[in-house]
């Protein structure tokens, strides 16, 4: 750094600083009790995974682990020649490799540092795509790996080979993929992070910080309190008193300080506010944000799903031209064609599959004033008639031929192995549509406790504490209200300002709904109406009032724990038929089957 405030240390000082360095080493070891614990969690792995920097370790135990895992997609063996790309999805992030040469044994050696936490997403989905120049890239095989399990298993080799499965039926193997995963030593994480930080303000590259350089760094953290205490922090950091802060000393300061009073409130790279829950999480987050890859074939990130990562140049062109964006949340216009949902089980984002033509027609009908005029001039009646006609068709014997095509289109979203009967059992498409599941296919949470409510359907769920929140974040139809939803016969005052939970069933979902609570069915109220789509394209549109204008049946359940609960089953275009399996006065248990939706008006 710049000339320090003191001259260079003389010989006698040299001895004392060596002694203090020794003490300091002991001090560090004693002081970082958590480091011993982490040491117990880790053990040195044999050798090194491909070209990764720093020491790589295997996890001995995964409880309350939080750290950086280095995942490398090494190679694959497929059953035919093509140009291949692979994607890794973990939580809300997806990364992809470069495209391989034309081969059946692609080699990528592509690595990525991933944030791994016990209570965060730790099941990674690896998907392999065959690439095409004009048409879109197709997923050929996938596998799901619990990285924490992978890291704790006892294996000498750093590489593991996993089978890749056909998305349409997970018992057909379509290839193999070889990958390695190791954990970066958290001490190494802290050091490499300090090294990255130090290099930013070490203007004369002597590998240590003078007071003025240190001050610039503290200022860069944007923390005013810390900025006012620069001298104090500098003295605290400069343990050997040589007037400079070395990389180790900076690492210690950041680690210890972050625990006591955070130096860094938000990440200087992505701006995310950093909770002070665990200092290692902060350092890990910052390391990943600062990380520019280790020079090896680092994967390309910034995608939300593997589907987005696999899009070719056409989609990129449309995104670049801002025709459509690919994002979470309320989407309008062409961005509405990519509906992303968060899979609660895998903690990963999933893109909902909808036929492009259907999206175009829904956008035209529900997201514009023209659509509104069309509705008023007869489109409603047409939608109703189409649904009734579709119901008759789906109840015919010929409709059974559509079942395999339907299963193929939603290939990795319908699990045939949990359906009670084999496909051949279903005589019509509607029979398949209201298929039952095998007993135990849907375990009921806390089944013995009636004060715990459960999800009523396999669906995409939105939950709000009250009506205002639902209007703010989701339902944009101008006429929506609790009174409007429950109809005239039911007094809304019981439910005003109550919580609202929306279970939206997509075509591929299991279409029977169950009781969310135990209690007695007080009454059923039929409310005739239209059959608009319940797709978010309509629900998020101000031109359409799906939930107060669609055909629906309201049932009131009296419960000991929640008071009264209104259960509103709402029909939709094509799937307008609502059937109940219980009647007024019945006592029901949460998790019992309540009824189902099927094709028809």
């Amino acid at each position: 750094g710049h000339a320090s405030s003191k001259g260079l240390p003389d010989a006698s000082e040299e001895d004392s600083s060596r002694l203090s360095r020794l003490k300091q080493k002991l001090h560090i070891n004693r002081n970082h009790h958590h480091r011993q614990r982490l040491r117990r969690i880790f053990r040195r792995s044999h050798g090194n995974s491909s070209g990764s920097s720093g020491s790589c370790l295997k996890l001995v135990s995964a409880e309350d682990f939080a750290g950086i895992a280095l995942l490398t997609l090494v190679s694959a063996e497929m059953k035919f020649k093509d140009k291949w790309l692979a994607c890794v999805s973990l939580g809300e992030q997806t990364y992809r490799t470069e495209i391989s040469d034309q081969t059946e044994k692609p080699v990528w050696n592509s690595e990525k540092k991933l944030l791994l936490e016990r209570n965060g997403p730790h099941v990674a989905r690896i998907s392999v795509f065959e690439t095409n120049r004009i048409s879109k890239n197709n997923i050929v095989g996938y596998c799901e790996i619990d990285l924490l399990e992978f890291l704790t298993q006892d294996s000498d080799s750093d590489f593991e080979v996993f089978e890749l499965f056909d998305p349409s039926s997970s018992d057909i193997v379509v290839g193999k993929i070889s990958l390695s995963c190791s954990v970066e030593d958290p001490i190494e994480t802290e050091k490499s992070f300090a090294r990255r930080l130090l290099s930013i303000v070490d203007y004369n590259q002597d590998g240590r910080l003078s007071f003025s350089e240190f001050s610039d760094l503290i200022k860069a953290f944007g923390n005013q309190v810390a900025a006012n205490k620069k001298e104090e922090l500098f003295k605290a950091a400069d343990k050997n008193g040589d007037g400079f802060v070395s990389m180790d000393e900076l690492a210690d300061l950041l680690a210890i300080q972050q625990e006591k009073e955070p130096l860094i409130n938000c990440c200087p790279v992505c701006g995310e506010i950093l909770g002070v829950s665990d200092r290692l999480n902060t350092v890990v987050h910052l390391s990943l944000c600062f990380d520019e890859g280790t020079g090896n074939e680092a994967m390309t990130g910034g995608f939300l799903t593997d589907k987005e990562a696999s899009y070719g140049w056409m989609f990129k062109l449309s995104e670049w031209a801002h025709f459509s964006s690919y994002d979470v949340g309320l989407n309008f216009g062409s961005s509405a064609s990519h509906i992303l949902v968060f899979d609660r089980k895998t903690k990963r984002l999933v893109e909902e599959l909808i036929d492009g033509k259907i999206v175009m027609s829904m956008r035209a009908l529900y997201q514009s004033k023209i659509g509104l005029c069309l509705m008023d001039s007869g489109a409603k009646e047409i939608l109703y008639k189409i649904s009734e006609k579709q119901g008759r068709k789906m109840n015919s014997a010929e409709s059974a031929e559509d079942i395999p095509k339907f299963v193929e289109f939603f290939k990795d979203q319908i699990k045939l192995d949990e359906v009670k009967y084999p496909l051949e059992h279903f005589k019509t498409f509607n029979d398949f549509f209201i298929r039952e599941l095998k007993p135990g296919a849907r375990p009921i949470a806390f089944i013995e406790r009636d004060d715990v409510a459960i999800c009523a359907a396999d669906s995409r769920l939105m939950a709000f504490k009250n009506l205002e929140d639902s209007l703010r974040f989701w339902i944009k139809g101008r006429k929506f209200s609790i009174q409007g939803l429950l109809g005239k016969e039911i007094c809304p005052s019981t439910f005003v300002d109550g919580a609202l939970i929306i279970f939206r069933l997509a075509p591929q979902d299991y279409h029977r709904f169950h009781f969310p609570v135990s209690g007695i069915i007080d009454q059923f109220v039929n409310v005739p109406g239209n059959l608009y789509t319940v797709n978010p394209i309509a629900v998020n549109s101000e031109y359409c009032n799906v939930f107060t204008e669609n055909k629906r049946v309201i049932s009131i359940i009296s419960t000991a724990e929640f008071g009264k609960v209104a259960f509103v089953a709402i029909g939709a275009t094509m799937v307008g038929s609502i059937t109940f399996l219980k009647k007024e006065g019945d006592y029901v248990n949460k998790g019992d089957e309540f009824g189902y939706f099927s094709f028809g008006g």
Partner: protein, 57 residues
């Protein structure tokens, strides 16, 4: 098709992860039987008079 459940005011504590996703206008993929929330108070406690506070005249 859609099911909407409406609860009485303050009768349920919905799971935090579901509320957090909904506050980002992000739907959560759930299955039948997954935990939704917990009753905030036993309805019976509300209905029954609170005898402890009664005093004999």
């Amino acid at each position: 098709s859609t099911v909407i459940c409406v609860f009485e005011k303050d009768s349920i504590l919905i799971d935090e992860d579901l509320l957090a996703n909904s506050a980002r206008s992000l739907e959560t993929l759930v299955s039948v039987g997954m935990k939704l929330g917990v009753a905030t108070r036993k309805q019976s406690e509300i209905d029954l008079p609170n005898l402890e506070n009664c005093v004999l005249e």
